[in-house]
């Protein structure tokens, strides 16, 4: 009995002893907790206090409105439009996901938006708004508003986006914007410009949009926002207003551009129209083209491959500045002018065309007219496009001399001042061939250069620029597009020195004018019925050298289209008081006068008669006087 009491007593003693132990331990742990709070709340108070306010205040960038792009008359190439989109806070992703099929019956959901929503549904932490439908049509907006009260988590919002109202008009010139990529960010960071893009989604890619990006983009504004943990803005204060990007004015005439593009429709080719006196680009057409609006949201790889395929005519290539073609006979007036200027030939010189030029008895270069053209002076060599005259000239002076003479006209260098250069073309020398092909220059390589064949390659804009030298009395101009940005007027690039004597210019100009007159190679297609005189030169660039079958020369029309010659017409008008230079190239267009000529004539007509409003008094002979209204 007593032992039982003793046992219970012993257990009590153990219990009470351990309670004491526990109490002491508990008090010690409580003290440790107090020490921890002292550390958090007293010692590190300022740190946590700062962190708490960081949590609540965010500085939000306000994206600027991008500058617009206008043509010379203020017609819009690139504008900004309102875009409507539906967003859902990531907090609601969980609750919205089950309703998605129901929402889908009234609102199309973007695939990207859906996958981001699904990803956010699994996480409890706020990760921002998710745009589930972007670029909504007005119809969609109206339909969505009608059901919005059922799904209050889905919020309709609006923003700005870039739009190109004229679609593919001047697409290569204007370029487009695209979403800022990781590469863009890296580049901007290196240049220290990344901060300007806080809040921006797009950056200029290609053309004017890329070239003048820095000024057209503008500067972001800032607002300080008090937010809660769900990112909801409780109160916002604007600290700095965004600064809109600067508008751009171009030299291009939108209507003329569209006319030029229409003339090229269905073909591959380019048209360059310049003001011969200062190099202002009036039209810069290339065909086929792309629609810049397609690029704003990004194009798929498949579409991109399609846009670069030969089957669709490589619409991404800007043929006016990046297409390189043999100039054909259009090179002749420049060689002729150079021959006069350098004293290789004088005004009285006469060459007897017998129908061919024989480098050696076995290496023979033919005239296009069987039997030859008979006695030929400089004027006739241009008007009748006498090949043998230029074979002889090329043979006499050699390739290096021709290189130097043609370089004066801007061949062999990028032509455009402010549209990203363009290609250089090929202006060969003996050394060039050695370096490029590791082969020596043969005399047989020199002869075709005289008629714009062989290794010689030029771009359409180089051609127009060279013709402007003859049109404006002998100065090299720099083609340019931008006349103004924001409040600044952009002065045209400085003109070059006068390079040629006016007498020499006059001889060539008259010869070029005769080309479009009865008896010239371009009368029926260009000069006929014109109220003003036109100076110009046709050209036919051979695509293939194999032109003989069964010992007979094959007619161009009988060749498959991709082997047919490229057609050129380069000229200016009015011939004696020029206001416009036009270079036209039609790929596989066959004879220059037939396809390229009428196109150039239409462009000249539109510019002189409609844009400038010139009226011409019909007179006998070549001395028609221009009288502008």
């Amino acid at each position: 009995m007593f032992s039982r009491i003793a046992d219970v007593q012993r257990l009590r003693m153990v219990l009470i002893g351990r309670i004491w132990f526990g109490v002491v331990l508990a008090l010690a742990l409580g003290a440790l907790l107090g020490w921890r709070w002292y550390y958090l709340q007293i010692e590190r108070f300022s740190h946590f206090s700062e962190r708490a306010s960081d949590n609540q205040i965010t500085v939000q960038p306000l994206a600027p409105v991008r500058g617009r792009i206008f043509d010379r008359a203020g017609r819009v190439f690139a504008d900004n439009d309102t875009r409507y989109f539906v967003k859902i806070s990531s907090d609601y992703a969980d609750s919205v996901m089950p309703h998605l099929p129901a929402i889908r019956t009234r609102l199309e959901i973007d695939d990207d938006g859906e996958s981001r929503l699904a990803a956010a549904a699994g996480k409890s932490v706020y990760s921002g708004d998710i745009v589930v439908r972007d670029y909504m049509s007005e119809n969609e907006v109206v339909r969505f508003v009608a059901i919005q009260h059922v799904y209050p988590q889905a919020v309709l919002d609006a923003g700005m986006y870039r739009t190109y109202p004229e679609g593919d008009t001047a697409a290569h010139v204007i370029g487009h914007v695209a979403r800022i990529s990781a590469d863009d960010k890296k580049r901007l960071r290196e240049r220290g410009l990344l901060r300007r893009y806080a809040g921006s989604q797009f950056i200029g890619r290609r053309g004017i949009e890329a070239r003048f990006e820095t000024r057209m983009h503008g500067l972001p504004g800032l607002r300080e926002a008090f937010i809660d943990a769900h990112g909801r803005v409780l109160k916002a204060e604007q600290r700095a207003a965004p600064q809109s990007g600067e508008d751009m004015w171009l030299t291009i005439d939108l209507e003329l551009q569209q006319l030029a593009e229409g003339l090229l429709a269905g073909r591959e080719g380019a048209i360059v129209a310049l003001d011969p006196h200062d190099g202002a680009i009036i039209a810069l057409a290339s065909s086929p083209r792309f629609d810049p609006n397609e690029f704003i949201g990004g194009v798929s790889q498949q579409r991109w491959d399609e846009l670069n395929s030969k089957e669709s005519g490589t619409p991404m290539v800007h043929r006016a500045t990046y297409g390189q073609y043999a100039p054909g006979s259009t090179i002749k007036p420049f060689l002729a002018l150079a021959a006069l200027a350098n004293g290789w030939r004088d005004a009285d010189y006469s060459y007897l065309s017998k129908g061919f030029f024989a480098l050696t008895p076995s290496v023979v270069f033919e005239d296009w007219k069987e039997g030859g053209h008979g006695p030929t002076d400089i004027t006739k060599s241009i008007v009748r496009s006498v090949n043998s005259f230029y074979y002889q000239l090329a043979h006499d002076v050699g390739v290096d001399a021709m290189h130097d003479a043609l370089a004066v006209f801007g061949f062999g260098q990028p032509a455009a001042a402010d549209i990203g250069g363009g290609r250089t073309g090929v202006l060969p020398t003996e050394l060039w061939k050695q370096e490029t092909f590791g082969e020596q220059w043969y005399p047989g390589d020199t002869i075709p250069i005289g008629v714009g064949q062989g290794y010689l390659e030029v771009t359409p804009i180089q051609m127009a620029r060279a013709m402007a030298v003859i049109a404006n009395g002998g100065r090299l101009v720099q083609p340019y597009l931008a006349t103004g940005i924001g409040n600044d007027r952009i002065m045209p690039p400085a003109r070059g020195e006068r390079l040629f004597e006016s007498e020499h210019i006059r001889i060539i100009t008259e010869a070029l004018a005769q080309v479009t007159e009865p008896g010239g190679t371009a009368y029926s297609r260009v000069g006929k019925d014109s109220t003003y005189p036109i100076a110009g030169k046709t050209g036919t660039a051979q695509v293939t050298r194999l032109r003989f079958a069964d010992g007979e020369r094959v007619k161009n029309e009988e060749l498959p289209e991709h082997l047919r010659d490229h057609a050129w017409f380069v000229g200016f008008a009015p011939a004696y008081n020029p206001r416009i230079v036009v270079a036209t190239l039609v790929e596989h267009g066959g004879s220059g006068g037939r396809t390229a000529g009428p196109i150039a004539r239409s462009v000249m007509d539109d510019y002189l008669l409609r844009v400038l409003g010139m009226r011409f008094v019909e007179e006998e002979g070549q001395d028609a006087q221009a009288a502008s209204l």
Binding site: M1, R4, I5, D7, V8, L11, R12, V14, L15, I16, R18, I19, G22, V23, A26, L27, L29, G30, L33, G34, R36, W37, Y38, L40, Q41, I42, R44, F45, H47, F48, S49, R51, A52, S53, N55, Q56, K123, S124, V125, S127, I227, D228, A229, H230, L234
Partner: protein, 362 residues
């Protein structure tokens, strides 16, 4: 009438007053933490219901409680099993039993019933034998395991701890504890690799470096540290805490309610709250030591240390020194079953304290 008198006379005002003060302090913070929700009103209603339950529990004589221990324990097992079978699922866990509009969290009841049952089991024997401890451990592990698979790691650990405390106070040999510690240390790598789920591991890792995953596992710890730390000496004022009011603090009306308290009432408020908790604890510890009946003494010791342990774990978690486990702060956090269980616990404590039966012999 007799029952009412008995229940009034059994009230231990020295326990009721600090407990009521703790509850009142909790209501003040909850009002701020649950602005714009119905939690405050419901908590008040639960508090009133809790007082009634406390009075009833206190009025039930301790010897009746001892008889009720086994049926209560078996009922608890049934409820826990029912939760697994018919419980309503939320956040990938089954923790609730719904009776119409009322839902009950049986795992909370276990915090009272398990210590009671284990203590009563021990009181059947006058001498300690090792097998008693194994049976006691089994009595603890079965309900704890049922809660663990819900899954509810925090509550399961707490039930296990409450039972372990009773086993400890019942006289578990020291050498055995040393051995158990050794074994625990050796199996912990296995537990880490095979038993714990990834989210549970992340929570433990995030204590050492919450900034490894600031928006994931570390988010709770970071935000509650900011809330506590930015409270400073005097706090930002009632309902003025930016962390709490702007929603940066997760689960601010349940597990993280102390962060709201600390942010709005500062170091001084935190220390006052800790003081009230300690007073409640010390009063209960005194009652445990002073109880006439050994079973009552053991039950009271288990209940009071479980109360303190859960409080310290919750405070440690909110203060960023312990991993985030889902344990509410007793008397403060919102939660009906938890609150009712706590009031019932106080009632049982009072019944134990009121027990004046003379010692069986002499």
């Amino acid at each position: 009438m007799k029952l009412l008198l008995r229940s009034l006379s059994s009230i231990d005002w020295l326990l009721l007053l600090p407990a009521a003060l703790l509850f009142a302090a909790g209501l003040v913070t909850l009002h701020s933490a649950a602005l714009g929700t119905g939690y405050f009103d419901r908590q008040v209603a639960f508090g009133i219901a809790g007082l009634v339950i406390m009075l009833i529990a206190a009025a039930v004589p301790w010897k009746i409680w001892k008889l009720l221990a086994l049926p209560c324990y078996l009922g608890l097992l049934l409820l826990l099993a029912a939760v697994l079978l018919f419980g309503s699922e939320a956040n990938n866990a089954r923790r609730w039993l719904s009776f119409g509009s009322l839902s009950v969290q049986p795992s909370e009841l276990a915090k009272l019933i398990v210590p009671l049952a284990v203590a009563c089991f021990y009181s059947l024997f006058d001498k300690r034998r090792l097998w008693q401890h194994f049976v006691a451990a089994l009595l603890v592990l079965v309900p704890a395991a049922l809660v663990f698979v819900q899954p509810d790691l925090g509550t399961a650990l707490m039930i296990g701890a409450a039972g372990a405390l009773v086993i400890f106070f019942a006289g578990l040999p020291l050498w055995f504890m040393a051995l158990a510690a050794l074994i625990a240390a050796s199996v912990s790598p296995y537990v880490w690799n095979e038993v714990l789920k990834d989210y549970q591991k992340d929570r433990i890792i995030s204590i050492t470096d919450p900034y490894q995953d600031p928006l994931g596992a570390g988010y709770h710890t970071i935000q509650s540290n900011i809330a506590v730390g930015s409270g400073g000496m005097w706090g930002k004022g009632w309902e003025q805490g930016s962390q709490s009011q702007l929603g940066f603090l997760p689960e601010r009306h349940t597990d993280f309610i102390f962060a709201v308290h600390a942010e709005e009432f500062g170091f001084v408020g935190s220390m006052l709250l800790l003081a009230i908790i300690m007073i409640v604890f010390l009063k209960m510890a005194y009652m445990a030591g002073a109880a006439r009946d050994y079973a009552g003494s053991l039950t009271a010791a288990g209940l009071c240390f479980a109360f303190l342990l859960q409080s310290l774990i919750n405070l440690g978690m909110v203060s960023g020194v312990l991993p985030v486990v889902g344990l509410p702060l007793p008397m403060i956090s919102y939660g009906g079953t938890s609150l009712l269980t706590l009031f019932a616990t106080f009632g049982v404590m009072m019944a134990i304290g009121f027990h004046r039966e003379r010692r069986a012999v002499l």
